[in-house]
């Protein structure tokens, strides 16, 4: 069965894409870059970070490219001063919400939040820092969860549920109180469902999930096994 082809415009250029694709997928397939943070190839998109927002003509608000399906005749702008402003604000809000201290972080130099901030030209934030008191879960024998560095992108939740099939992670509470929790808000080390596979650690864009024993700058994430697993699953489906 062949999928229906739709014609859309991205930054003025006419492209054809498959029905059911999101704006992000259509853009990627046509070599157009849209910045993303919470998206990870092979996982269900959720639109958590709002970095991939785009302008769609005729729509009065900005839409996340990762969750918005394309429609025939849609015209999308992926880059404008307005988008840069709101992307910056989104990253700045992530930076002030918790305690992102790059200088002492295991992921310094390999962090997707850090590189997104500099790529967007952020040299400072326009908001006051929140400095919340947050715990770290050290109960797992091999891995650490540090809530100070979590941006609630839910990559860990999705990779565990969708690729590992264990669904250890979830989000509890709402808004500023939202936290990643394992099982029924138990310590990670006491989780009955965790298989110790470490996919959540490799999928995490920051230093929130890391391998134990890593010093500053030593935690380099490897998500290629996640990508290849997701690819094989797609081929089977």
């Amino acid at each position: 069965m062949s999928q229906k082809k739709l014609s859309i415009r991205i930054d003025g250029e006419l492209i054809s894409a498959l029905e059911g694709q999101t704006i992000l997928e259509a853009a990627k397939a046509n070599g157009k870059y849209i910045p993303t943070l919470c998206a990870l190839e092979g996982l269900t998109p959720v639109g958590a970070c709002r970095i991939c927002i785009v302008e769609v003509s005729g729509v009065g608000r900005l839409l996340p490219a990762c969750t918005t399906p394309i429609q025939e005749g849609m015209s999308v702008i992926t880059n404008s001063p307005k988008l840069t402003l709101y992307r910056r604000i989104s990253v700045e809000l992530l930076l002030v919400e918790r305690n992102h201290v790059c200088a002492v972080c295991v992921s310094n130099g390999h962090c997707e939040l850090q590189s997104m901030a500099t790529a967007l030209g952020i040299s400072t934030v326009r908001f006051a820092y929140n400095y919340p008191k947050l715990p770290a879960d050290l109960s797992h024998p091999r891995f650490v969860l540090d809530h100070n560095r979590c941006i609630l992108c839910t990559r860990c939740v999705r990779v565990c549920a969708e690729l590992e099939g264990a669904h250890v992670w979830n989000i509890t509470s709402r808004g500023i109180h939202a936290r990643v929790v394992s099982d029924l808000n138990q310590k990670w080390g006491e989780s009955a469902s965790c298989t110790n596979c470490g996919k959540c650690v490799q999928a995490c864009p920051t230093g929130a999930l890391a391998e134990k024993g890593r010093a500053v700058e030593e935690m380099v994430k490897k998500d290629d096994s996640i990508r290849s697993l997701a690819h094989r699953r797609e081929v089977q489906a």
Partner: protein
């Protein structure tokens, strides 16, 4: 040609940004023909002078003394640069912010001390509730993050300013 008056200041930081400033090596000699360093840990002046053109400030605002100093610096400076992560984000000094000041001092100077278990009060400025970046107290004209910002970036900013260019456009950004 009149030399540009440059000052540096060191608030709650580790002096690493000043080390990075010195790390420009021989470039400092050619810069010295165009600038006068009128105040800072690297020179002798005791009082922050009036009418400073550019001030580079390292460190977060952590104590009442830091706050008084940054306000005076702001009044007497044309262009204020937050130098490094502590001045820009709070960074390591701000890691104490989730702990109440009295508990923090108690833990370090009483519970954590081997001898002389007293919280020092003489000759040390009282801590503010939080260590916070400069921008939350005074207007900052330019932020140069990094822990520390590379010497090249510092030179780049100063050179751009001396040449009358906007340094924002050529800024190499780095956190951590």
């Amino acid at each position: 040609m009149k030399k540009v008056k440059v000052a540096t200041a060191w608030l709650d930081g580790c002096s690493g940004c000043h080390m990075s400033l010195l790390d420009m090596d021989a470039v400092i000699i050619s810069l010295a023909r165009k600038i006068d360093i009128v105040y800072g840990p690297l020179v002798d002046a005791q009082e922050f002078p009036e009418d400073v053109d550019i001030t580079l400030v390292e460190g977060a605002v952590s104590s009442q003394e830091d706050l008084n100093r940054i306000q005076k610096i702001r009044q007497r400076t044309n262009l204020l640069i937050a130098l490094g992560d502590c001045a820009v984000t709070g960074n390591v000094p701000a890691m104490r912010n989730s702990i109440p000041v009295n508990k923090l001092l108690q833990r370090i100077y009483v519970e954590g001390a081997q001898e002389g278990k007293t919280i020092p009060t003489l000759g040390v400025p009282p801590l503010l509730k939080h260590a916070r970046p400069l921008r939350e107290f005074v207007k900052v004209d330019l932020c140069l993050p990094g822990c520390p910002p590379p010497a090249k970036s510092i030179v780049g900013v100063i050179t751009n300013l001396l040449e009358g260019k906007k340094p924002e456009a050529n800024l190499t950004l780095k956190f951590g």
